[in-house]
Subunit: 229 residues, 6 copies
């Protein structure tokens, strides 16, 4: 069993499938997410004729990715609310990595499909999605669709929490469910914050815990950036 200040084992399989511009299977402990980056020569209406591009993300769990089978969204005719929240977070995080003027008027859609879920799927999605974008960008550069690399910094994400009073890095499902606090930290590879999203539904926390968690997250992210380079 891993220690409170350790990451789970992370494996990143590049070019997993072949049709998307970028395709990555990230295996983060028992959490497996297929992250693909598809490029389309169109942008949302508010960006038309601006010369600027867009990055968006979609997140979905396969029905059998959890021990208890989950119905597909289409059965209920409703996008799952948790998935909506998560894919908005992934999109914001990944957009922060790109210079939209250099990308030009095209859209990268990052699809994060969870094959197996054991906690930390949003962090795995952001981390794997960044690698998928890098693969797609390399292809765009190689095919001379764009002339300059639009990636301004790479981003990655990790969760931290407080379990039984102990600040803990990289929560799996069992830890996540019982944690008093759950904080997702998304940073750039030069150590700046892109997004913080932390929730203490069960027990509000003070400054010391915030500081301890941020410190743990920074440590974990350093290791993760080594893996994704």
């Amino acid at each position: 069993m891993k220690k409170a200040n350790q990451l789970r084992k992370i494996e990143i399989i590049r070019d997993y499938t072949q049709y998307a511009a970028g395709s990555v299977l990230i295996k983060w402990g028992n959490t497996w997410v297929l992250c693909t980056a598809s490029v389309e020569e169109k942008v949302p209406p508010f960006l038309r004729d601006t010369g600027r591009g867009w990055v968006t993300a979609e997140y979905s769990m396969l029905p059998s990715c959890t021990p208890q089978r989950k119905d597909r969204d289409i059965k209920k005719l409703k996008m799952d609310a948790r998935s909506t929240e998560i894919q908005r977070l992934i999109g914001r995080a990944l957009r922060a990595s790109i210079d939209m003027a250099k990308l030009g008027e095209r859209q990268i859609t990052v699809d994060c499909d969870v094959l197996q879920a054991d906690g930390g799927t949003r962090c795995a999605s952001i981390t794997g999605g960044m690698v998928a974008i890098e693969l797609a960008v390399q292809r765009l550069l190689k095919n001379k669709v764009i002339s300059e690399n639009p990636i301004v910094h790479r981003v990655a994400a990790v969760s931290v929490g407080v379990c039984d009073g102990v600040p803990t890095l990289d929560l799996d499902y069992v830890h996540d469910s019982s944690a008093e606090v759950d904080l997702n930290v998304i940073m750039t590879d030069d150590g700046k914050f892109v997004e913080l999203q932390g929730c203490a539904e069960h027990k509000p926390f003070g400054d010391e815990h915030l500081m301890a968690m941020i410190s743990l997250a920074k440590k974990g992210l350093k290791q993760i950036f080594k893996l994704t380079r």
Copy 2:
């Protein structure tokens, strides 16, 4: 015009409408949100026969609340994604204020309908929603539906950001749109964090800005808790 370390003018009209158990119109600058708390003697399936209650929130913008009219969700048959994210945040924040065993097997639904939007609607909704819950709880106590006050601490929220490099309290729409960083801080009245949600889509930020923003938020929340008492 207000200074970077000041709050906008906040007015809280209690018992605004008469049919909900708790009803509050919060006017936070030009942001007006009608927050009502309705009590129903039923809980979601996962809580049945547990003796525990639930608090949930719904957030919606009236079509004419912004300068550009917005179509209703029902016209598109889709819950707005931003509203989904916001109402999940409001729900988590308000749940943190309640001891569910003391509430007993009933549900409080807090409806936050935005009559006019000028930035900070999610913070106004949480702050106003807390007051609506308090009014509803008073009614439950008075009618002897419950015997003990289930409110363990009161919560409130404020947004802080970095505008042109300056940490700024309580962003209105113009500030929010141009801010480099936007952080929503939700705390209890005894100074603990309930949720942090901050995003730097435009410019990642460092530790000093994080510290400065949190400090401003704490200061603002102290004033807000005076108003809601």
Copy 3:
């Protein structure tokens, strides 16, 4: 308590919110409806390139506007059938007030959001919506978007019914639920009919009751037109 031939107290607050072209809060007894008129420079497909404008209405009840909380339409993915019927009535009534050629190729959308419901919400919506249109038209004239006033006559509405055999003006919720007959009368300020919609689900009625109800409605509408002028 009001007499059978009296109106409830009606208060009309103009310019209630600030972003819509016209905004009115109408408080008709305990029925409160926020009526806003928004102007958009587009028309439905069947009117494109005709030089003619359009007026449409949307009607919705806030979840907490009645003693028993009502789910939002989006939760059921269906526009409420009663709301559909009502907003079609409001739209037809308000369109009758406008010369569409003078309005020009633009659309006025009147949103009627019920903050509190105690019977007569459709009549309050039509009456308040007319005032919101007038405010919007004044703004269009002042901004020289249009050069001639397109309002050909003003409309207003009132409900009448038969309660325990007695023709009764302006039914509140308790009366409406128990009335044998319920007739909504929409007229112009020069005393012509725009729409009649009456239903005797519980007890069919004869000519005398029809005449008595119409006479009462005319009397009530005269008073209402004084208020809305």
Copy 4:
């Protein structure tokens, strides 16, 4: 061509299809509606354990019933708003014919499917739907499901209007589109009003036109009740 005070030719084919309890094809000029009455041993939740029954109606136009093909509702995932309004009218009208205590705790659903539309489909639906209910009730009596006839009076409907200033009975599509006023009159076979629904979107009307239209409608309905007996 028919005169202004005449009805179109109306043909009522009973027992048209064989699976519904009551089935009627009504051919009213070129307007053809298949009206079926199905009986189910269940009632809406608000009537459970009351011993009382319910009558409801559904109205739908087949895609090819008009010269211009109309998309099916399911394609747009939305119940057509005009159909919603019409089926609520049909339901109210038909409910007025039944003593719900005598019907007992069961529901009659009247489906009105328009095979061909040339104006007056809602009146044809109510008139044909009443006959379908009568057939269904006869079957219930014959099978001894109920012991007493729950039909308290029979209802029928006809449209009247004002065309070029002339009060006109039974408007077909061409007349309906150009009429200044369009009034649907639903009455019982003993000459009482069940519902009036009239609209003067194009030209408000005075008392004399109202009286003239009602008088024409009464005359037409007398003839119709002869046909449906």
Copy 5:
């Protein structure tokens, strides 16, 4: 009662309704389907500017077409899955009859609305739909919208099955429900296969039964093509 190698009685009423370009009521035993062919001067996006046309089909059961009333699709907001499968089959079958270049850039939509269902509705729809297309094509030729007949061969369909070990032609509902195998055979009038769709959910079958069923189907289709000529 019909023998295992006989067809039910089939009646084809041409020009049943008047607004669609082609309209056919096919009564195949107790299965009645209204098949209409509507022509629109537009094609799906993938065919724009190709000079080629398209044929598509929609299939729907009226609520009262079966002994047990069926809810409309719009009530569940979902296209019925069985109807989806059937209308795709009808569309493929009918497309096989048309030379899309001769049809030109226009679409024929064949609506198959089942008024009464007693087994074999998909075969009745294909067979009746073909006749409706022929009527529509005659009208297009007569109106000189097209100059050459685009029908390359006529198609028809029949079901065959194995009931209690006996290969059987033209299954009605009772037979269909109990058949071990159910095979729909769609052929051209010159004896070629267009589609085979057979299922042995209850008892897998061997080559001999396949051959016997195909032979029966060919015999039946010869008779059907005589009727549709």
Copy 6:
């Protein structure tokens, strides 16, 4: 390149993911489908209290499984029509393999999620789905949830077609798109037919081609059953 009478390379990875009762990744050339079998202790309403079980299938393509990204169903709020048709086929085919009385009152849901699509996804889904069911059944037997193996025979599927006049086994996407005929053959391991679904949208076919295709399919299925044993 493979010959017309050869299969593509097929690889079956058992126990690919860990939470479903049975999980198989089938790689059939460049077509990859994740097939999982989940067991739930409930059955559809029509089977309650019958002691019989049910098998159902869901089929979905991941957005990035094809060279051109495909929108998710939930974005359009509609189940894809082709997917609906395919999952009904998969369900029927797999149900044919099971003795529902031996399965007992529980449901196996087979989810077929296409990670990469290069033709033949429905055949890969049936073939892989059968293996997933076998794994799930082994687990049920091992855990003594059931006492007897409910699998009566194993099923598998392969596509055959006619390409440029040549009967061809196992069509990939390029062949499938250009084939004159496309026939899916589903058989049991003892050589009986479970379902035939063949379509000649482009060129109707005669008996010889039917026989040649069936013969090829039988040969291919023999090889496939060796792989799945």
